[in-house]
């Protein structure tokens, strides 16, 4: 039912003639009852409509546009121009730095680059190269003899377990022991394991010295090393073959399970330095306190990393300890 409180919602449709038949009849009934409203609507029969002014346009449409297909259109405002010029300068610097680094690296590797260099500099560079080549030659010659020695040692390396341990220890302590052995007093006639191993070690040292002398005397014998290629000026293209040691399988026998821990440790060759420690420590070893001994060894050679650490100068295959220290 159309009345004074709701007639406005129907007024425009009535004026435009878009009301339904029912609604139009109701509206006409209302207007008949309300002549003032009817007069208002009569004045609005010709609805005044506004016409847009086409001269009013938005000036900066380009600023609203977005670049199509992935490329971004950046309008060249002052702010953008400054930022873009900074970015361009940074790019140029990067490219220039990269090129400079590339050329520098190429020069160091010795490749030919067409650069006008004064003759003196070129000569100097060649001299440096020759000197370097000579230095390398010398080191190769110097190393040839020790390499031969190593090969002999490997050949004569004992196969069984205890001899291997001795040989290992000898290789690492031989320089230190040479002088000490020469000046050391003969060991006491003692049945302690330490003294036994020390005396054994000294005997070994003496035998090895003899072997070395023989090796020096027999220097003319050709060792089984492939001949080095004739020395020539080193260039990136030259192939340098350095004598390689022939492969030698080292047999490591497992420690028999029947042996007790104490026995195994007792058989270990103790370093000479142990003799210089306290008598108390010798007693400890005699009592079979191997762990304390190892600690002392560690302390002699250097500070232990943490409380409860054990020295590890002896290779782990001498003990039945796992490699992770447990």
């Amino acid at each position: 039912m159309i009345n004074k409180s709701n007639y406005e919602a129907f007024a425009l449709d009535y004026l435009e003639g878009t009301l339904s038949a029912t609604e139009r009849r109701e509206m006409e009934v209302f207007l008949q009852k309300n002549p003032v409203v009817a007069a208002e609507l009569a004045e609005m029969k010709e609805i005044v409509t506004l016409v847009p002014d086409e001269s009013i346009v938005f000036d900066n449409k380009n600023a609203l546009l977005k670049a199509e297909e992935g490329a971004r259109v950046i309008p060249m405002h002052r702010k953008n121009w400054f930022r873009l010029s900074l970015a361009a300068a940074a790019m140029l610097l990067l490219i220039g730095g990269y090129l400079a680094g590339y050329f520098t690296a190429n020069m160091e590797s010795g490749e030919e680059i067409i650069v006008d260099m004064p003759a003196e500099k070129v000569e100097k560079q060649e001299e440096i190269k020759v000197e370097e080549a000579l230095a390398i030659e010398e080191t190769i010659e110097e190393n040839a003899a020790p390499i031969a020695k190593e090969i002999e040692k490997i050949k004569t390396r004992p196969k069984n377990n205890i001899e291997q341990k001795d040989a290992y220890f000898e290789r690492h302590n031989i320089d230190r022991q040479n002088e000490e052995v020469a000046n050391a007093t003969p060991p006491k006639a003692n049945n302690s394991p330490v003294e036994k191993s020390v005396s054994q070690q000294k005997e070994k040292v003496i035998t090895i010295e003899k072997e070395e002398k023989e090796a020096v005397a027999n220097q003319d014998e050709k060792p089984n090393i492939p001949e080095a290629t004739p020395q020539k000026l080193l260039t990136p293209d030259t192939e340098i073959t350095i004598a390689t040691l022939p492969e030698k399988e080292v047999e490591i026998n497992e420690i028999p399970a029947s042996k007790a821990m104490e026995e195994i440790v007792a058989e270990l060759p103790q370093p000479i330095a142990l003799t210089e420690t306290n008598e108390v420590e010798k007693a400890d070893v005699a009592e079979g306190k191997s762990k304390k001994t190892l600690k002392k060894i560690g302390r002699f050679f250097g500070k232990l990393p943490f409380e409860g650490a054990t020295a590890s100068i002896i290779p782990t295959y001498y003990t039945d300890k796992k490699r992770d220290g447990k």
Binding site: L12, I47, L64, L65, E69
Partner: protein, 161 residues
């Protein structure tokens, strides 16, 4: 919509949105800011907005931003309107267009928007209801009252001429 379709929206509707906003705000720089913000908002959501309804989406955003701006500057606008009303007099050489503009100036922001949307852009009552977030009957009532006011103003101005 695609980027290309978005750019089409810019080319086709930027002027219309600007006119629509300018009539309400009467300040060119404010109107330009509203238009830029409106298109920026459309761009941000351009992948989810349908190209067919992009025009009404634009006017909807513009209308809301405009109303917010007007409410923020309500005090300033009211002050600015005083001299305008004082100057409103009767001249013989007043054109119909100017009379209409005068009549429009007396309307409230929502009434103005509705009149402009109807006359400038030709939206239906339903579309205007959706854009202005009003009910259909509310739109019709506002619009009827706006037309009545304008009619009265035009009649008075015409009689004076």
């Amino acid at each position: 919509m695609t980027t290309k379709e978005y750019n089409n929206c810019v080319k086709m509707h930027a002027d219309g949105v600007f006119r629509f906003v300018l009539k309400n705000l009467a300040n060119r720089s404010d109107a330009q800011d509203v238009v830029q913000n409106t298109f920026e908002k459309l761009w941000r959501k351009h992948e989810t907005v349908n190209y067919a309804t992009s025009k009404s989406y634009l006017f909807s955003i513009a209308h809301n931003d405009m109303i917010d701006l007007i409410r923020k500057n309500k005090f300033v606008k009211a002050y600015e309107n005083v001299p305008e009303q004082a100057d409103r007099g009767f001249t013989n050489q007043m054109e119909a267009k100017e009379i209409m503009e005068k009549g429009l100036a007396d309307l409230s922001p929502i009434q103005k928007s509705l009149v402009l949307l109807k006359d400038y852009e030709g939206y239906s009552y339903e579309e205007m209801a959706e854009m202005t977030e009003l009910s259909l009957s509310q739109v019709k009532v506002y619009l009827f009252r706006a037309r009545k006011k304008m009619q009265v103003a035009v009649t008075q101005l015409t009689k004076a001429v």
